[in-house]
Amino acid sequence: MNRARLVRIIGTYGVLIALAALILFGFLRYDRFVSFYNVMTLLRYNSMFALVALGMCFVIMTGGIDLSVGSVAALGSVASALASPYGIVPGLAAGIGAGLAAGLINATLVTRANLMPFIATLATMQAASGSALLLAGNQTVSVSYESGFTAIGQGNFWTFPIPAAIAVLAYLIGSLVLNYTGTGRAVLAIGGGEDASRLMGLRTDRVKFLVYVASGGLAGLAGVILASQFGAGQPIEGVGWELFAIAAVVVGGTLLTGGSGSVVTTLAGVLLLGILFNVLNFENGMGWISLSAYWQSVIRGLFLLVVVLLQARLTRRRLNAL
């Protein structure tokens, strides 16, 4: 009994423990790892991925998947860059609006046409990518530097990066919705057993609809930050973001079969993957080894492998313990 409980705790909080260990490692080994500049840069850069992973986390908890987030973010970045001369609000609205539109298409395909989420969002991924290229005329679109639009990605809220503040706010809302609202509980119920949830009277289609729309909107918001941070709408960015987001969600301990998951540990998963890359940079700086940037994906992959193997062991034990 005690052992089963221990296993469950490690399963849920393993990612937090790993994150703490990695940060401690970096703190002890590198002088400027926990410096103000490094931490803020890290948070600023990873906020886009955090937003995308948040949407993905909700979709996965319902037992679905959203492969379109990367190209939807690209579409959002182009739309917001085009609207950026008119100011911050139109820029934000255009990017989020484009994301919501793509999310609506996903939601309709999944709930009305009953397509498998994998295929529906695969199609949307291609459509969003094509639309982004069409809107942008096959090139990057510079944002306006006069309208204040770049503040969203580059500015600070006192000393805290604005995009990171947006991400933190989004995760707070996400966490509240998941834990304290009927919709949030319904998300988990649907992932646990969709037919049973429907028979229990939950409006499963409505909840799934919301989840895909939210994922699209968050991807659009990530696109706005992308455009604002790097000064351009980039129609070919976002390749592989969906898989990075899935990896972060999985590393965060959410099961891909749906029905269980946590918003906070997803954020920890994003940070863990981000810090891993950061540590690699510092290690290169030490001069002991010289690993090219290409090693980052190898190490991320290995890391995912370890987590997945651990998860497989833990979930099997948990099933046995029940």
Binding site: F118, I119, A123, G130, L256, G301
Partner: protein, 334 residues
């Protein structure tokens, strides 16, 4: 509105009109293909030429080869996201071997033979690794193959340090450039692989086992099918197909760029399989369908491009067709 009971003949007519819908969804891909060809014959200039045929076939054949392996994996209820990365690995490894960067090899023929065999086998072994994760640890296929999707391209980039490898080695490049009897070599390879896989899936015990595992894994296990071995085999085959496709791509390009070889291939292959009529949940699969699916997607793109529609718009249309095709097939099942 009449409330009279309908005669059997009338009911029959209703049933037949539903059958028409079923017919559409079953043969929709073939019909679409025929319509596309007809449209092109009427409106696209220079369509009915050997050159057009060859251009389309050479562009589609790496997708088809990968889609064959993908069909088998999907037939067991799995998915393989790592194919594009495995293409990059085999594409990076082969030139390193035949250009003598790893071991100096005296004869170019020996070097090319070693390069082809070793790089395809390495991709196959990595495929087996995917299968091992899926079968032994019961990790969901989408996550298990995500590992190599992420790490695989990194491995290829690390191997080449991200550099472009260029070469002019006709002894190797026949696989992408030779034209025996005016037919591109890779088209012949594709035809052989499609025929072999279609035969194996329909006529051999192995093929029936694949479908049984995808249809109902527990029942197959209880019926005495070695489920783990079947899974290992299909992921291994998918790896081999990806490795071969990687070689063809670099042979056509006369160069290997680890950043680009096979990029996005997993999605093209899955789309071809889905449009072709294979159930994504497993248990029902058609290799020829995947071939037709890939040809349809390719021909849509060609038709749009040949008639002046930009490539980006073609992507949007392609997305619509994938969604429509899968939706139609579902109507038939429902």
């Amino acid at each position: 509105m009449t409330e009279l009971p309908r005669s059997y003949a009338e009911r029959d007519a209703v049933a037949r009109s539903f059958d028409l819908f079923g017919f559409l969804s079953r043969y929709g891909t073939s019909i679409a293909l025929v319509l596309l060809v007809a449209f092109n014959l009427a409106f696209t200039r220079n369509f009915a030429t050997m050159q057009t045929l060859n251009v389309n076939l050479t562009q589609v054949c790496t997708i088809v080869i990968v889609a064959v392996g993908m069909t088998l994996v999907i037939a067991t209820g799995g998915i393989d996201l790592s194919v594009g990365s495995l293409m990059a690995i085999s594409g990076a490894l082969a030139p390193m071997i035949f250009m003598g960067k790893i071991l100096p090899i005296g004869s170019i023929y020996l070097g090319v033979a070693a390069a082809m065999i070793v790089s395809v086998l390495v991709a196959g072994l990595l495929g087996l690794f995917n299968g091992w994760l899926v079968a032994r640890f019961r990790i969901q296929p989408i996550v298990a193959t995500l590992v190599l999707f992420i790490a695989g391209r990194g491995i290829a980039q690390v191997m080449t340090n991200g550099n472009l490898q260029t070469f002019r080695v006709p002894e190797f490049q026949w696989i992408g450039l030779a034209r025996p009897l005016d037919i591109p070599a890779q088209v012949i390879i594709m035809a052989v692989i499609v025929a072999a896989a279609a035969w194996a899936l329909k006529k051999t015990l192995f093929g029936r086992c694949i479908l049984a595992v995808g249809g109902n894994e527990k029942a197959s296990e209880l019926a005495g099918i070695a489920v783990s071995k079947i899974k290992l085999a299909v992921y291994g085959i998918s790896g081999l197909c990806a490795g071969l496709a990687g070689l063809i791509v670099i042979a056509i390009n006369s160069s290997s760029d680890a950043n680009l070889v096979g990029l996005g291939m997993e999605l093209d292959a899955i789309a071809a399989v889905a449009v072709g009529g294979t159930l994504l949940s497993g248990g029902k699969a058609t290799i020829v369908g995947s071939l037709l699916g890939a040809l349809t997607i390719q021909l849509v793109r060609y038709t749009l491009l040949a008639n002046g529609v930009p490539d980006a718009a073609a992507l949007v249309v392609k997305a619509g067709i994938i969604a429509l095709a899968v939706w139609l097939q579902q109507q038939h099942r429902g």
